[in-house]
């Protein structure tokens, strides 16, 4: 019995704790923690502004910038951040300007920019021919959840900045979502808040790219927000739940990536997907199970 117990303990130790003995895995975990802390609320606001797909579009749109940085300096975290930031802001501003100057809706013009931009990114990456391992990391994040310390530093720094900026624009952001006319009647901060929010979106996307790869990074921003909506009607709780579910996805996903020797992007996104499916089924607010059996539960 005791030996069996010890065996189980050893197994749990090997599975849950041993991976974090490696510094690079600890870096990955710390980066995820920083990432979800800032990306959680960003995702919630994206969802509440009905812009989740815009987030997805932006993720593709900033690819050429990141790709240029990537090619100029390899997997250099600073070059990729800078390239992505420039490309992202350029596209956000251009799409906004085109939609204001013409009759085209902002999401339509953003969709055009995303496609052209993505094509450009793929051309840049493939024309210059990179090794397959580098490409895999670029697209899906580090294999087996190993991250360098310098990358962690950039991710954590950006996340801190993003959280502070979000705190500054929190009130106009909320009021701009729920009652934009009233906000404009009492404050001139709505334009500034929207622009800051788009900048933060780009910063968090790049952060997610570093952590989970360019193809799937956006998942850790959008999916936790979607999960949180199934559990609460209060925005603060929603943000906390988005961070928590992002953290659980990140932690379980990293373990998955480590043991299966797969890239972290798909591993984390899959775990988040499982949590999302569970929320769709059992979520307290609008979950399917509660809709199928509503009467009995509410009569008491």
């Amino acid at each position: 019995m005791r030996r069996a117990g010890n065996g189980l303990e050893a197994m749990l130790y090997q599975f849950l704790l041993e991976p974090f003995g490696e510094a690079s895995v600890r870096h990955s975990m710390a980066a995820i923690l920083a990432l979800v802390l800032s990306a959680g609320p960003i995702g919630v606001f994206l969802m509440l502004r009905r812009m989740s797909l815009v987030g997805d579009a932006m993720a593709h749109a900033i690819l050429p910038g990141v790709a240029i940085g990537f090619l100029a300096a390899g997997l250099n975290v600073f070059a990729m951040t800078l390239g992505g930031l420039v490309a992202g802001l350029l596209i956000a501003l251009l799409a906004g300007a085109v939609s204001r100057a013409t009759k085209l809706q902002e999401d339509a013009s953003l969709a055009v920019f995303l496609l052209v931009s993505l094509a450009l990114g793929v051309v840049i990456v493939t024309a210059n021919g990179i090794d397959i391992e580098g490409l895999m990391t670029f697209l899906f994040g580090e294999t087996a959840a190993k991250m360098s310390a310098s990358k962690l530093l950039v991710v954590a720094g950006t996340a801190t900045l993003s959280l502070i900026a979000l705190a500054l624009i929190y009130r106009p952001l909320v009021l701009g979502c729920v009652d934009p006319g009233f906000l404009r009647s009492i404050s001139r901060s709505d334009g500034m808040a929207h622009l800051t929010f788009m900048t933060l979106l780009v910063l968090n996307l790049i952060n997610a790219f570093h952590t989970l790869g360019t193809l799937l990074g956006v998942g850790i921003i959008i999916i936790p927000a979607a999960i949180s909506r199934f559990w609460t009607r209060d925005i603060s709780t929603m943000i906390v739940l988005a961070i928590a579910s992002g953290l659980v996805s990140g932690w379980a996903g990293l373990l998955f990536a480590f043991h299966a020797k797969i890239p972290s992007g798909p591993a984390v996104t899959l775990v988040a997907g499982v949590l999302y499916a569970g929320s769709v089924l059992f979520g307290r607010i609008g979950g399917i199970v509660w809709q199928v059996f509503p009467g009995r539960h509410l009569e008491a």
Partner: protein, 247 residues
């Protein structure tokens, strides 16, 4: 000095005027109804007064006040009722001008918010999400926010649309109270009988002012017919104009 003065004011969207060459003044302490068919420019005028919309030409004088110091009750359909915010926080937004982006809400402010919620009869609903409110409760909440704003000039966009009689009567009492406190109140309304019974002054608007003055003299059958006709005539011309412009 009037609370509001309009000087050849034209307001609109994408260079298309919705309020055309409006001149006139709203006296301090006046209780004014703005009446007119759908599309007459009532909401547009209110967005101009509250600074949400910049004039295409002309100007608005606000007796030395900033546009932001005017309390504004937007139409309920302009509000995203699915947004996860509760009644208390919504009403607290009325403190924005004194609290800004970061100011904390102290005990004194909490009293103000609670009192406003009690005045409109929503005590006990503080933590309810706005999506769970009925149309009447929603309007009561918006009135509480106006109370918290404590402004000298108050603009109400269709405050009595789609609510039951009791709610309308309660909220009308509030409007009367503001009037007795010498605040300037302007409200867009569709119910002519309600206007005749409660609003001393009326502006009849159909993109251009049809009549403006004492309510009984403004709301004649003749003027109302004229307002309907002007609005329709204008619409037809607008479509005709827009075509060559697009091409």
């Amino acid at each position: 000095m009037p609370a509001l003065q309009f000087h050849n004011l034209t307001l609109g969207y994408d260079r298309h005027p919705a309020v055309h060459h409006l001149n006139g003044a709203v006296e301090t302490g006046a209780l004014v109804a703005v009446v007119g068919p759908n599309g007459a420019g009532k909401s547009t005028l209110f967005k101009g007064i509250t600074g949400v919309l910049k004039p295409l030409s002309g100007s608005i004088e606000r007796d030395g006040r900033e546009a932001r110091d005017i309390a504004y009750l937007p139409q309920v359909p302009d509000i995203d009722r699915t947004f996860p915010i509760d009644v208390y926080d919504m009403v607290a937004m009325g403190l924005w001008r004194t609290k800004g982006l970061f100011g904390g809400i102290g005990i004194k402010d909490q009293r103000i918010i609670e009192a406003a919620i009690a005045t409109v009869g929503l005590t006990g609903f503080e933590e309810r999400a706005i999506g769970t409110l009925s149309g009447g409760q929603m309007q009561r909440m918006l009135f509480a926010r106006v109370l918290v704003q404590d402004a000298r000039v108050i603009v109400l966009d269709e405050p009595f649309t789609a609510i039951d009689e009791r709610t309308a009567a309660d909220l009308l009492n509030l409007v009367q109270r503001w009037h007795s406190e010498k605040r300037t109140v302007i409200a867009a309304l569709h119910n002519i009988d309600l206007v005749k019974a409660n609003f001393p002054k009326t502006l009849l608007l159909a993109r251009e002012p049809v009549a403006w003055g004492a309510t009984p003299e403004v709301l004649t059958a003749e003027n109302l017919a004229k307002a309907r006709h002007m609005c329709e005539a204008f619409d037809e011309r607008a479509t005709a104009c827009a075509v060559p412009e697009m091409a």
